[in-house]
């Protein structure tokens, strides 16, 4: 059992990481609790901000048969919780030629024939830490409604927990990402400002900057990253960076 430093005043509570009991400060997120217990993340922890989807946790509470889920970086520990990380799931991911691919349901179905193995058990929706209606977007893809599937899957952070629970072995999140790509590039109405920006980038707007970054050492890159201007917490809606540096 790990020993909490004396300087910590938070109450210690027991949690079970992969079945082993640890006492951790009750104020910690699951991710920090795992680190507190002595584990080191070299993968399976990305942004620590609830966005990247790398730190999916599944856990149980005492006396409850249900599986609960959360992102380790966002979920605070509970006494007696039994947890494990599922940072990655070996879900099938199809290769495709985006340029020539038609944005229709049949094309998605051809790449992912397992789509039609869905039995509407709803395990995917129940396990989604982002409360995405996964089963419903899969239903929308099956009937070729890519716009609806895009809309329903928009909050997906690609954690893969849906796939981990699927009895039909569907890689829901990869299917949804493909659908959003098809929608964004081939179905969504074109807008002038996006077209202008794409042209600007294609014409080499960032090329010099990229070339400079490529030449930098790791230390220089770290320094640049740390010193970058960040959007403050609770920033007003119309917040703008002072310079275009780093944009």
């Amino acid at each position: 059992m790990s020993q909490a430093p004396e300087s910590l005043t938070a109450k210690l509570i027991p949690i079970y990481i992969m079945g082993k009991r640890y006492e951790v400060p009750e104020t910690l997120t699951i991710m920090k609790a795992i680190e507190h217990a002595g584990y080191k993340f070299i993968r399976g922890c990305g942004c620590r901000g609830g966005i990247c989807g790398a730190c999916g946790t599944v856990y149980r509470r005492p006396g409850d048969y249900r599986i609960h889920v959360g992102l380790a970086c966002q979920t605070v520990v509970e006494p007696e919780m039994v947890l494990t990380q599922i940072p990655f799931y070996p879900a099938n991911r199809a290769s495709y030629d985006y340029a020539t691919m038609e944005a229709v349901g049949a094309a998605v179905g051809a790449l992912y024939p397992e789509l039609f193995r869905c039995v509407a058990c709803n395990a995917c929706t129940k396990v989604c830490p982002m409360d995405v209606e996964v089963m419903d977007y899969i239903a929308a893809v099956k009937r070729g409604d890519l716009a609806e599937a895009m809309r329903l899957s928009f909050d997906c952070i690609q954690c893969g927990l849906c796939a981990s629970r699927c009895m039909g072995e569907l890689p829901q999140y990869h299917i949804a990402q493909l659908v959003r790509r098809l929608y964004g590039g081939k179905l969504a109405p074109a807008t002038d400002h996006v077209d202008a920006m794409v042209k600007k980038i294609a014409d080499g707007y960032y090329q010099q900057k990229i070339d400079e970054l490529k030449k930098m050492s790791v230390d220089e890159l770290k320094k640049l990253y740390t010193a970058r201007e960040q959007e403050p917490h609770q920033a007003p809606e119309l917040w703008k960076a002072k310079s275009a540096e780093g944009l």
């Binding site: 709803n122 419903d136 239903a139």
Partner: protein, 295 residues
Amino acid sequence: MKIGYYPGCTLKSRAKNLEDSALASLAALGFEVEELPRWNCCGAVFSLANDDLIHHLAPVRDLIRAKDAGHERLITLCSMCYNTLARANLLMKHDEEKRKTLNLFMEEESDYFGEVEVLHVLDFLRRELGWEKLRAAVKRPLEGLRVAPYYGCTLLRPREVAIESPDLPVMFADFLRALGATPVEFPEATACCSSYQIIANESAALEASAKILRAATASSADALAMSCPVCEYNLGRRQGDVRSKHEGVGELPTFYFTQLLAIALGLPQETLGLKWNEASSLELLKKKSYLTVSA
């Protein structure tokens, strides 16, 4: 009150002509129809294995959606969806043990006891409108059009979900007569088109279709009417393959029953979705001068 409507996946893609013509016709006949706000694939076939409950989740979940949306009745167009939903509904109504297991598994949904009534649109029209009123609503009678009503399997089998007596069905013929068409009797009206066997056993499937098409042609039908996208695929879309492999099969235009309804009600051509039919269907309608283009 608006009537709940379950479309089914195929009606949103390859069988858009079935949905478009039906919704336009129902609206023209004064029925207010509302698509379920949430629905998933019905599963397409009703699982027959006694211990295979997992495949009942999909249709039952759709029935729960209908109930939650406040619908007492749910209408469907695709024969496969009708059959699957109607049978799942009976299971939830009468099999207490399975109902309990399914409701327990779907604990995130409302409990379901088979409260919603599942109706196929052909039966719905007979009950709610009746053939006399339909006849009165017809603006362009399909006079002289000889139509073979093709039921296929799933509107009449098994008996407990049959839209009418499977021994001597008359509903489809009565419907066509109300539209002013001449229904022709043919011995294969309730034969199976081979359904999904077209994927696993193509030659047997084409042979089954050939038998049906040959019988319809022999009864000198001008067209074949149906309500199932799988039948339409086998008998319509694959008709060229049937003809190339089997003798004595003439070219026979195919229609969904709702397309003939929309034509008879005088609805504009764009409600028919004819681009999803084979070319022969459009040619026949042109020959008979049945088409109207809205101004």
